[in-house]
Amino acid sequence: MIRIEHLSKDLGEFFLQDVTLDIKNGEYFMVLGPTGAGKTILLETIAGIYRVDSGRIFLDEQDITDIPPRERNIGMVYQDYTLFPFLTVEENIGFGLKSRKVSKREIKRRVDELANLMGVFHLLHRCPGTLSGGEQQRIAIARALIMEPKVLLLDEPLSALDTQTTERLRQELKNVHSITNTTIIHVTHSFEEAFLLGSRMAVMDKGEIVQVGTPNEVFRKPESEFAAEFLGVGNLFQGESRVDNDIACIDVDGINIVSATLKPGTVHVSIRPEDILVSTKQIVSSARNSFKGKIASIVDAGTILRIAVDVGIDNPFIVAITRQSFDEMNLKTGGEVYITFKASAVHVF
């Protein structure tokens, strides 16, 4: 639907280098990368704000490389909301339709509709300056959506918000996507966000796309050292969490992982490889999680070794241990071991 071919753009501090991407119709596509990776300039180039140095952009097979932003029908939402401070919320949301010379009545109708969808109807007569970050971001999204864009570009839309608001807005973004079925390109530096929202994702570094795939693929098989480092390769699982008696019990492919984070429903679970103990005998201890498994592989990384332990679920646990421990315990591929970790080491999101 959007096809980007060999796109390059140099703005001095930020730049894009030979970016090629193919984004499908209705996809929720995430772009993940550290600060300065060129994520924002990628969006701005897609929106038509900067002219490309070289390369082509196609939207629905039409070459849009040289047409101005207003003819592209691509919506853009910046991290800092950029609501027009001299207009009311209503006028902000209706801004785009006014450009299109839509009748006042029709504008009113559409604004009300979008305001309802984004839950900002009660704010229509307020000025943006007095609103919270979450409210402003909702309005900015409504303002973009009212144009019924073919593609909606979100530039770190959640990064300036507090945790609670972030979680609520994530859910709303999911809803917006499923209701409007708009293609969304969402830029973020949060791995969690990419995982929770994206149907596919790209990892960017220094103006280049280093990997594209489903979040799961990218996470399981990072194709470069940068991706591995940036994603903090470790143990990531999906499961069903039940909260009971101040503790959460998460069913992951049949095994139960206990966590101190009390979040029910379908969740993701991650455990840092350094937080897991390996032992050859079962441990009775204060640690709430203990599983028996087989060593699937051993990777020697100098003073640290990474051991993959298969405990009978889809993906093995990765455990990092020191060379001394490894030598003392005499571990071998295929050997039977126990892995143990505390409930507080289980990160749930």
Partner: protein, 266 residues
């Protein structure tokens, strides 16, 4: 207590200096406005000559301010947003009238409009600047345009271009984005710039004197009126002109500082 006083000696001296300076300025202004009696002042202000001067000053200043706005908006926008060859040279040249004595600017305008073929061409087309109110306007424009330009450049620089970018994705052309977003967001800067340009235009003397001369009831603005009446000893009329000028300048200064103008000038 004695020790306390001793230790803050430097504070006392410096604060007294500032108070002394402020008192000097205040006394001077009071000297002018109290130099005549209130009835005499009112009579003078209502005289035909002062009424003419007020009207001429107000209109020339308004016209020159509009001209300053008209050229400064695009020029300041170009220097705030774009990079182009010779940008820094243009910036420096636009600062020059700030340092140039107004009298010299007036002589320059007189030569340009009075002696060159360009000036004669304009005169043939009906635009005579020498010794006419048009000359007053061009003098005010030339002397004040760098102020307006600097204020607007600062204002535009302080507005994140992302606002324009968003407006463009919402169906605006670049020009529409400027008109519908950047300009409304520059309201305060524009207001502060206009008021100070207008006020300085009303007070302009040296440049206007050179180009337009000092002809009673013809090119007699308030400063020219002050000058003419001081010269021929019509003290009451002179004080009336001075008082009006003081009031205008103090009110504009107040409005200007209120809208944060100074932070935008340089």
């Amino acid at each position: 207590m004695l020790k306390k006083l001793k230790r803050s000696k430097i504070k006392i001296i410096t604060v007294l200096s500032s108070l002394f300076l402020a008192a000097f300025i205040l006394v001077l202004i009071i000297c002018v406005v109290t130099h005549t009696t209130l009835p005499a002042l009112i009579t003078s202000i209502l005289s035909e000559e002062i009424q003419f001067a007020i009207k001429l000053s107000l209109t020339t200043a308004v016209v020159s301010t509009v001209m300053c706005i008209g050229i400064s908006i695009p020029a300041a926008y170009a220097l705030a947003r774009y990079d182009f060859f010779g940008k820094s040279v243009v910036n420096t040249i636009l600062d020059a009238p700030l340092a140039l004595p107004p009298l010299v600017a007036g002589v320059g305008l007189l030569i340009l409009f009075g002696t060159t073929s360009f000036g004669r061409g304009l005169a043939d087309a009906g635009l005579t600047f020498v010794f006419t109110p048009l000359g007053i306007i061009i003098a005010q424009f030339f002397v004040n345009v760098p102020f307006m330009f600097r204020i607007l450049r600062g204002t535009f620089q302080s507005i994140n271009p992302r606002y324009e970018h968003v407006a463009e994705t919402l169906g605006c052309t670049e020009a529409q984005a400027f008109w519908r977003v950047t300009l409304p967001m520059s309201k305060n800067g524009l207001l502060a710039g206009s008021i100070i340009t207008w006020s300085k235009g009303i007070g302009e003397f040296g440049a206007a004197l050179m180009v337009a001369g000092a002809t009673r009831m013809k090119t007699e603005t308030l400063p020219i009126s002050l000058y003419l009446n001081m010269s021929c000893g019509e003290l009451n009329l002179a004080i009336a002109a001075a008082t009006i000028l003081i009031i205008i300048s103090l009110i504009s200064l107040f409005v200007f500082e209120r809208y944060g103008g100074f932070t935008r000038v340089f």
